[in-house]
């Protein structure tokens, strides 16, 4: 256990905060199968639980996404705001509709649909049509999540599935990016993304612009800084594991570096891979999605390294400039197997 958490525990203990009021859980019942357990169990320890619940985690993720949203609105203006709101509202509405349809408790306030909406919006180009955003959100929630049984049962990251659907339906519009022109008084103008420039024109974009987000691209993929700030906040809160984002970025870096060392004039530098496209957003907010990533340490390593390698392969050799989305979706599909194969060694077990 890391020292920072240890320190926190100690601090709280000294202030005697244990009697502090717990937050109420704003989620209605899912199910209780008392009937099964009551026959055998005379007790149900532990009687004390950690102060944590699903809405708390999800709302923290929403907060962590705030910098990326703010920056996208700053760079792309009102169209970014409209896209984000559209995706959030249609995601929530779709979730509520399907939960009512399936006669399940309505849990749209747990925040998971909001996250899907935001993440989908952040992967769209700023000039993307609003109707398309609605369609993508409906698909993400309906097929990506509810079709599998709702939160916790989905295999694929719903936002990415929604985005993949839009890629198939609007192949042109989804790759029509505009350069951000904050403060210039002109509206956004069409421009190619750094990845497309690299791939199709062999042109490089300055790293510093990519870091701060002064480039063309999808809403949330331009500012590396805003995403890292949000990601570090999540890590500070303890809701993501270092393994996932760092393993993913590390794999992209090293695999990218191999090609670059082999032929620096043909292939981009590893740092470019990290700063470009959705790599950061994917690393901090998509491979870290709890539901669709493995639970075992070894499984998590395989998952992120596999996805990282796929990103580089798709970027360099695929027909598309960007590979983050497919890399994660592909690896999502083998997570159930990874969890099965990578069971940790049980304490005291001799294998």
């Amino acid at each position: 256990m890391d020292k920072s958490r240890e320190g926190k525990v100690k601090g709280r203990r000294q202030t005697g905060e244990c009697m502090k009021e717990k937050e109420k859980v704003p989620v209605s019942a899912n199910k209780t199968d008392e009937s099964i357990v009551e026959r055998f169990v005379v007790s149900s320890s532990p009687h004390l639980l950690k102060d944590i619940n699903i809405p708390k985690i999800m709302h923290t993720v929403v907060i962590a996404l705030a910098p990326a949203m703010v920056v996208s609105i700053y760079f792309f203006g009102i169209s970014a705001l409209i896209l984000i709101l559209t995706c959030i509202i249609s995601s929530i509405a779709t979730e509520a509709f399907f939960q009512r349809l399936r006669k399940r408790p309505i849990t749209v306030y747990d925040g998971s649909a909001i996250i899907t909406g935001i993440l989908l919006a952040l992967t769209l180009p700023p000039s993307f049509p609003v109707l398309g955003a609605v369609l993508g959100s409906v698909f993400a929630i309906a097929i990506g999540k509810q079709f599998f049984g709702g939160l916790g049962y989905n295999i694929f990251n719903p936002a990415l599935l929604g985005r993949a659907f839009l890629q198939a339906t609007y192949p042109v519009l989804i790759t029509t990016w505009s350069k951000s022109l904050a403060g210039s008084g002109i509206d956004v103008v069409a421009a190619a993304t750094p990845l497309a420039l690299m791939k199709f024109d062999g042109e490089m974009t300055p790293y510093l612009d990519m870091f701060f987000g002064n480039i063309s691209g999808s809403l949330g993929e331009t500012s590396v800084l805003a995403i890292i700030v949000g990601g570090l906040y999540l890590r500070y809160k303890g809701y993501i594991n270092w393994r996932l984002p760092l393993g993913y970025l590390g794999a992209i870096f090293f695999f990218g570096a191999i090609f670059w060392l082999f032929n620096p004039s043909k292939y981009p530098a590893p740092l470019f891979h990290l700063l470009a496209g959705g790599a950061m957003l994917g690393a901090w907010f998509m491979v870290t999605d709890m539901v669709t990533s493995p639970v075992t340490p070894l499984g998590q390593w395989i998952f992120v390294i596999g996805a990282g390698i796929l990103v580089v392969i798709i970027r360099l050799f695929g027909g598309l400039p960007e590979g983050v989305m497919y890399s994660i979706l592909l690896m999502n599909s083998i997570v159930p197997l990874l969890d099965k194969w990578t069971r940790p060694r049980i304490f005291g077990e001799v294998r």
């Binding site: 256990m1 958490r5 240890e6 525990v9 100690k10 709280r12 203990r13 000294q14 005697g16 905060e17 244990c18 009697m19 009021e21 717990k22 859980v25 989620v27 209605s28 899912n30 199910k31 199968d33 099964i36 357990v37 055998f40 169990v41 005379v42 007790s43 149900s44 320890s45 532990p46 009687h47 004390l48 639980l49 950690k50 944590i52 619940n53 699903i54 708390k56 985690i57 849990t107 049984g149 939160l151 916790g152 049962y153 709890m290 539901v291 669709t292 990533s293 493995p294 639970v295 075992t296 998590q300 969890d339 069971r343 940790p344 060694r345 049980i346 304490f347 005291g348 077990e349 001799v350």
Partner: protein, 444 residues
């Protein structure tokens, strides 16, 4: 300080400040006591008295001729009122002797001057420990003389005293170490002699710095061969196998006992009881119980007679606070058993009574698993609790077994951290029962 510990585990809020600085108080002698004839793992005792008999404090009232058992003694002087099956704080009913006090109190000598170690032999220790009815006082209640009789072919090199007390709220071992450190150490020396071990380790968590200091001082005075090992504060450090991993970095293989790796672990309370038994021939008739929780008016560390009802123990602490639902637990909140009837007695293994109320009571609703990996990271035995829970619920016992369900130590870490509030341990416990039923030959 470089603190030792084991892998995984959790950091609950310990809430020990409620009683940690409070001196141990002796509770008044109860009017009646209910003494279960089985307070240990093993064969239940036969009653040695009849209804109407007059008994004296410390008199043996139940025993049986087998190895794995521990006799029980009358905690007070008085008259036997009833011998019947009464509710038991670990669940179910157990044949118990009810004794009504005649208000006579026997004076037991109290001093910590130590023992003449040359006068005692391993066999005399085992006999005295058995006669005093001593069992593991940390919760498992395994008869101690059995633990002190390792098979000839197993060489014991280290005795570990467990002073972790990793359950939230409980401070009975902590206050024992603060107020009677000599007793604990002499008890430990006796144990080392009984199993012929050269080395002694004591594991104490670092949140009990005062106890570590005091014990270290006493160790210097009376038995320098003992090493005090400060450990990181973490739950479930007090679980035997975790403690051995933390202090000695030895893995106890699955299905094996600590003595298979040359270790005997005993709780500090047990050690103090052993000292009393050898020095004064005092049987185990009372113990320190932490009565705590946010549902109590005045949490305390009490010396209670075995057989005192929970109700009386709680009244000794000013009673419960007004209003609302409550959970009364035999033990601490992580592994303790919730009670429905406050007439249940304090037994030898009751290290605490915890009363929770209001928002500390956990919600009964649970949600789908979001695969957050929290339970996998918390499990000290490296299991995959989320899967075990589901396999148990679906009665897929073969898979449950293959995924290591039987290795679960029921520490509750997984349920504790689960953001979906899934009662994982509860399901796993049920799974174990289902598995055992299926394994029984002849059952359909």
């Amino acid at each position: 300080m470089n603190l030792k510990t084991f892998k995984h585990g959790i950091h609950p809020l310990y809430c020990k400040e409620l009683t940690a600085r409070k001196e141990i108080e002796r509770a008044p002698i109860p009017k009646t006591v209910t003494v279960p004839l089985q307070q240990h793992l093993g064969t239940p005792c036969q009653p040695l008295v009849k209804k109407g008999d007059v008994v004296e404090e410390g008199q043996k009232i139940g025993d049986v001729v087998t190895f794995v058992t521990a006799p029980v003694h009358s905690p007070i002087s008085g008259k036997v009122k009833d011998i019947e099956r009464y509710p038991y704080p670990v669940g179910g009913k157990v044949l118990s002797v009810v004794i009504e006090s005649n208000e006579e109190v026997k004076e037991w000598p109290e001093n910590n001057t130590g023992l003449d170690m040359d006068l005692i032999t391993p066999q005399s220790i085992r006999d005295a420990v058995r006669e005093a009815g001593i069992v593991g006082m940390g919760g498992a209640a395994f008869p101690t003389h059995v633990k002190l009789s390792p098979p000839k072919d197993k060489k014991i090199d280290t005795v570990i005293m467990n002073g972790c007390e990793c359950e939230p709220f409980l401070t009975s071992d902590h206050s024992l170490m603060l107020e009677f450190p000599e007793k604990v150490l002499w008890g430990m020396k006796v144990i080392m002699k009984a199993v012929n071990a050269q080395k002694g380790d004591r594991g104490i968590e670092e949140n009990k710095l005062d106890a570590i200091n005091i014990i270290q001082e006493v160790v210097r005075d009376i038995s320098p061969e003992i090493e005090v090992v400060p450990l990181e504060t973490k739950y479930p450090q007090g679980a035997e196998k975790m403690l051995i991993k933390a202090t000695l970095n030895r893995d106890v293989p699955m299905g094996k006992l600590p003595l298979d790796v040359g270790v005997v672990v005993n709780n500090v309370g047990t050690a103090a009881a052993i000292y009393d038994a050898l020095k004064f021939k005092k049987p185990l008739i009372e113990r320190i119980v932490t009565v705590s929780g946010n549902g109590l008016t005045e949490p305390k560390n009490l010396i209670l007679r075995i057989g005192t009802s929970f109700k009386e123990a709680i009244e000794n602490c000013g009673g419960m606070i007004e209003g609302g639902e409550r959970v009364v637990i035999n033990g601490g909140p992580m592994m303790g058993v919730a009670q429905t009837d406050l007439d249940v007695p304090v037994i030898k293994a009751t290290s605490g009574i915890t009363v929770l109320t209001g928002d500390e009571i956990k919600p009964k609703i649970y949600h789908p698993c979001i695969k957050c990996a929290g339970c996998v990271e918390a499990c000290p035995v490296n299991l995959m609790p989320y899967r075990l829970g589901d396999l148990a619920r679906l009665s897929r016992v073969d898979e449950f077994k293959r995924w290591g369900g039987l290795s679960c130590v029921e520490c509750g870490c997984c349920s504790f951290v689960c953001p979906a509030r899934r009662p994982l341990v509860q399901w796993i416990r049920v799974g174990k029962v289902k598995l055992r039923e299926e394994d029984k030959p002849g059952s359909a």
